[in-house]
């Protein structure tokens, strides 16, 4: 089956392409990319006139999500999480191992992949646990999980507990060239903290999580990545100090990469107090930091110090959030708001251009995880994220595909959204509010 996407702007940083192109998709692969592909030359093709108002990017990859299955299916499942992903423009997600049971062995990995195949929406790349049960004691069976399909290792939700374990993990996973993703938090410093230690938390009487809790752990990981030659990836970087450390590490060629979550570059700790004080939907870990940290992260996105944007999509049932602030679960959903936040706050705000956006959301996540994707090229899988850059978007949590609604962005007006998502040649999401994408529907075509 042939599909011809015509006349859209195509942004592919790897080939240096940014211009109007036609793309021919043959079943699950890209068959041809050209300035003009006359429909007469590809007989039987379904022709879809996208037009120059839409932007076609290599499929976005969210390298940090929580799909909650197995164990917490009341919060999210692989099926609802991947439905949320494709509605948010992500063709692939990497899911953290803090499920129940923990994804610390190949059978759990295979179960997640089986659920993903049945859902048939976004690609799912499981991240295995660094330690058995993520308890921080004994290494999990990393090679076995790699063979089953894990692409990286992390004890996310918690830091890799000790410097020794982190060292061993970097060395051991290093034999496969695979990254250790670390949630950087010195628990002795963060203690019972629930919000960024600073003026706002102090005024509200909330126990603080100091920036230093993140900074010292990032410094530790950089030192250990340096001596082991392993690849440490810093999850959800949130402080100016941690970013400084990453910059310094990169400058001396340590294998260190980092990601930032949209809430950390769009919000700051003043949201604890207003417009709604003690809103549990602004409680996450790491917490919303000071405005100066947020500004430093934006600068890190601009200057290239930050490698990737990842949502840390953390679905929680309403029951886990409709409680006292200090009892509420940490985390927010992010898959269905990330792209609009990036377009509105980064691209339209002239922080970055389109190629850099695609690097942050596609090229670099693919490179860090060592997975396919990150480019639009002939012969490769047709994983495409199609954006409507000027679409007026009003975030409506009630319409999320995710099982959970825990977002602080409900009601936000943003410029730019997702038009359609194509995974392996299959149109898995079409936004009904984008008329020029209508030709892609109904959802069908190709083979998974």
């Amino acid at each position: 089956m042939l599909r011809l996407l015509r006349g859209a702007r195509v942004v592919d940083p790897i080939s240096g392409l940014d211009g109007i192109r036609d793309i021919l998709i043959d079943r699950d692969r890209i068959a041809r990319i050209d300035i003009s592909i006359p429909p007469s030359t590809c007989r039987g093709a379904t022709v879809i006139e996208l037009g120059a108002g839409l932007v076609v990017c290599p499929g976005f990859i969210d390298m940090h999500v929580h799909l909650r299955e197995p164990g917490y299916e009341h919060k999210e499942t692989v099926a609802t999480g991947t439905a949320s992903a494709v509605a948010g423009g992500f063709t692939a997600v990497a899911c953290m191992p803090n499920t129940h049971p923990v994804n610390d062995n190949a059978s759990v990995t295979r179960f997640i992949l089986k659920q993903a195949a049945e859902a048939g929406l976004a690609r799912v790349y499981p991240i295995g646990a660094v330690s058995q049960g993520s308890k921080g004691e004994q290494l999990a069976e990393i090679a076995d999980m790699r063979d089953a399909g894990c692409v990286a290792f992390s004890d996310d939700g918690r830091p890799v507990a000790t410097a020794l374990l982190m060292r061993r993990a970097l060395e051991y996973a290093g034999m496969f060239g695979m990254p250790i993703i670390d949630h950087c938090e010195d628990r002795s410093l963060s203690g019972e903290g629930v919000a960024h230690e600073g003026y706002h938390a102090a005024q509200l009487g909330l126990r603080g999580i100091p920036s230093a809790a993140e900074d010292v752990m990032v410094e530790r990981d950089i030192v250990l990545a340096d001596i082991t030659g392993g690849h440490a990836h810093i999850a959800h970087i949130s402080t100016a100090g941690a970013l400084r450390a990453v910059r310094a590490g990169k400058a001396r060629s340590v294998r260190i990469t980092c990601e930032v979550a949209p809430h950390h570059f769009t919000m700051s700790d003043q949201w604890l107090a207003a417009p709604v004080s003690y809103d549990t939907n602004v409680k996450m870990n790491p917490p919303l930091r000071a405005a100066a940290d947020r500004d430093a992260l934006v600068e890190g996105i601009r200057d290239g110090s930050i490698d990737a944007i990842a949502t840390d999509h953390a679905p929680h049932h309403a029951d886990d959030k409709r409680v006292e602030f200090d009892r509420a679960s940490f985390g927010i959903v992010g898959l269905e708001t990330a792209v609009s936040l990036c377009l509105d706050r980064l691209v339209h705000a002239d922080v970055i251009g389109w190629p850099r956006l695609v690097e942050l959301l596609s090229v670099n996540p693919a490179r860090i995880l060592g997975v396919a994707g990150g480019s639009i090229s002939v012969g490769r899988a047709a994983d495409l994220t199609i954006l409507a850059p000027d679409l007026p978007v009003i975030v409506n949590a009630a319409r999320f595909r995710s099982k959970s609604r825990n977002t602080p962005f409900d009601g936000w007006s943003l410029r730019g959204g997702v038009a359609a998502t194509i995974v392996g040649g299959r149109v898995v999401y079409v936004n009904p509010e984008v008329p020029t994408a209508a030709g892609l529907g109904p959802l069908s075509g190709g083979q998974p």
């Binding site: 230690e197 600073g198 003026y199 706002h200 102090a202 005024q203 509200l204 009487g205 909330l206 126990r207 603080g208 004080s277 003690y278 029951d319 409709r322 409680v323 006292e324 602030f325 200090d326 009892r327």
Partner: protein
């Protein structure tokens, strides 16, 4: 200072943060009228007759709960006190469910004491009843702040321009937060003193002078307020020992001598004699610690009265 207020704007009293200087003055003025009631042979007025007040206490409290109960009874409200041990909350129903159940019985006012900062805000969003914060976590204890201000004003005739030294565990203290918000709004010169491990960040932004030198805080002060030091803070490593704490920060007669001769000594209670305050000071001539307790009833009567829609019933009081 803004124009005189005749009523409180909000439905609730969640914290001093929400009050204007004029509203604070209104509460203090109303409390003066209420205080007179305590000197009558029949200490009861019908101001809240037919109103239902629920005292919902998730933390042990003797002083505050008793004070609210007496205030409610003197105003002729129908009152009910519920004490819930935090331990049973873990397995029991949520705060929201408890509140919705109470709400179904249509109380007019819920007085809430809770260990979590912001618990009163949560309730105010789901309840039609007026919420009175009787202490939420480390956040605020507004009626304590008001009764402290009432006591200072009673003794000093004013709040503006007074040097007030507050010494103790500022980091974990809701009394401290309510007091600094109130006193800075009313134009006092507020000094916060404690070991650096117990000073919250951002004090300067709130208009408070932070210091760890108790002599500097107390020197020429009009008011010296001590805050309770809890044993668990020592276990948390905030300072080495109660003995050392008393040596460095304890309020002794020698330190009090640095303050103005007519300085008053305050403590929200319960006191640890020999930890944050020497008995000679607590029982000394400048101490107004028991006045604070007496004034607590009057201030809480004023708050309940104003929140219950008091304005038009002033005459009845």
């Amino acid at each position: 200072m803004s124009d005189a207020a005749t009523r409180l704007r909000g439905k609730d009293l969640l914290g001093i943060a929400d009050l204007t200087a004029a509203e604070i003055t209104l509460v203090l003025d109303t409390a003066e009228a209420m205080k007179e009631i305590a000197s009558r042979p029949i200490k009861k007025v019908p101001a809240l007759r037919g109103k239902t007040v629920v005292n919902l206490f998730y933390e042990p409290s003797t002083r505050t709960r008793t004070s609210f109960e007496i205030a409610e009874k003197r105003l002729s409200a129908d009152t009910l006190s519920i004490a819930i041990a935090s331990s049973s909350v873990v397995k029991g129903e949520t705060l929201v469910d408890t509140a919705l159940n109470l709400e179904a019985m249509a109380p007019d006012i819920i007085v809430l004491r809770h260990g979590s900062s912001g618990a009163c805000h949560l309730l105010s969003r789901i309840c039609r009843a007026a919420i009175v914060n009787a202490g939420d976590g480390m956040h605020e204890h507004p009626t304590q702040g008001l009764l402290d201000a009432f006591t200072i004003r009673e003794r000093k005739g004013r709040l503006a321009g007074l040097k007030v030294a507050i010494v103790g565990d500022l980091l974990h203290s809701r009394v401290f937060r309510s007091n600094i918000l109130l006193l800075t709004k009313m134009g006092a010169d507020v000094w916060g003193c404690g070991p650096p491990t117990l000073l919250p960040p951002g004090l300067e932004q709130l208009g408070v002078h932070p210091t760890s030198r108790v002599e500097e805080a107390v020197r020429d002060a009009d008011v010296v307020m001590m805050l309770r030091i809890q044993l668990e803070r020592m276990q948390g490593g905030f300072f080495p020992s109660l003995r050392e704490y008393f040596n460095v920060f304890g309020m002794t007669p020698e330190r009090v001598a640095l303050a103005k001769p007519d300085a008053i000594i305050m403590h929200p209670g319960p006191m640890n004699r020999g930890v944050e305050i020497a008995s000679e000071v607590a029982d000394g001539p400048g101490s107004v610690i028991l006045d604070q307790v007496a004034n607590g009833v009057a201030v809480r009567m004023a708050v309940l009265f104003l929140l219950a829609g008091g304005g038009e019933h002033v005459a009845a009081a």
